[in-house]
Symmetry: C2
Subunit: 202 residues, 2 copies
Amino acid sequence: MGKGRLIVISGPSGAGKGTICEELFKDENVVFSVSMTTRAPREGEVDGREYFFVTEKEFIENIENGGFLEHAQTFGNYYGTPKAAVLEQMELGRDVILDIDTKGARQVREIYPESVLIFVLPPSMEELKRRITGRGSEKEEDIKIRLGEAVHEMSLAVNYDYCIINDDLDEAVGAVKSIIAAEHHRYDEEMDAMIQRYKEEK
Amino acid sequence: MGKGRLIVISGPSGAGKGTICEELFKDENVVFSVSMTTRAPREGEVDGREYFFVTEKEFIENIENGGFLEHAQTFGNYYGTPKAAVLEQMELGRDVILDIDTKGARQVREIYPESVLIFVLPPSMEELKRRITGRGSEKEEDIKIRLGEAVHEMSLAVNYDYCIINDDLDEAVGAVKSIIAAEHHRYDEEMDAMIQRYKEEK
């Protein structure tokens, strides 16, 4: 089986990352990472399931100890991906998916260079507008801002290993699965050990 | 659809590359490249099908014109992969497979850096010996030489993008197909053009 891979999925709001990830998690060897946060738990949220809920002091200590693959502050709260939990899953042979933005992806790549970066694009501007607008009765101005943010995010796709245009959900999911399967065939320590054995047995 | 990819497959004699390639060619969008050679055609061989048969003068002119993705001299004859024919197939959206050795692969990577290098390994030393021996009534000494060559080739797998252990044919073919599918999702000029359009339409 071998070690699991760390897969980072980014894409603008409206690209359909969430739906793709849900499909991927149907495979029991593909898991998501539980983030750590300083925000208060909401009704029904369980510590260790939705998030690991910690104090700001604990969070900052974890930053100082190099305990995050990536972290960020949003609306006064900290959010981060704990490194140990992710690496542990990978040691068990599971692929870990991180659904994070371009800033987070850059941090992950720095800390764990073997991570696989996938960017999901909406199929067209019309579809992106439809998906952003369709989420609720948002104001014209808000939609314009979100569209601008989406296009800015997309301009950073060039830094990713792979790009998927989410036109058809099945195809997009199939593409991510192919990428994960391919990444399991990268030359790694296991291959190296195997070739060493060949040399010795010769 | 997009442009086809250039896939280089290497592996020691006995790894089972040939059988894998045969399976891949069942997909009409996956083609092999017809090599050019200075050796004389054998009974039943057709120019442009098995090989492009040329004179030594023509072959050397083609080398001088940078017309090869790779070429080598074996037992006094030249063999090479003509660049133009391969690029033409790729423009038509077809993936081109080159079944060549590690020396050829290195040349291809230099001339066409976007090429995808896959190394096929036999599942075990016993199986490699069995496959090498099984080919005919070869002498002990010849088998030893071929085994040594095979292990030397394998030690160069580290330079490849992907490695596949050919334990089960279906799995090995599936792995190559996943790799090709994944490689079609690399960020390329088409992605770039799409993102440019998003920026303009914003």
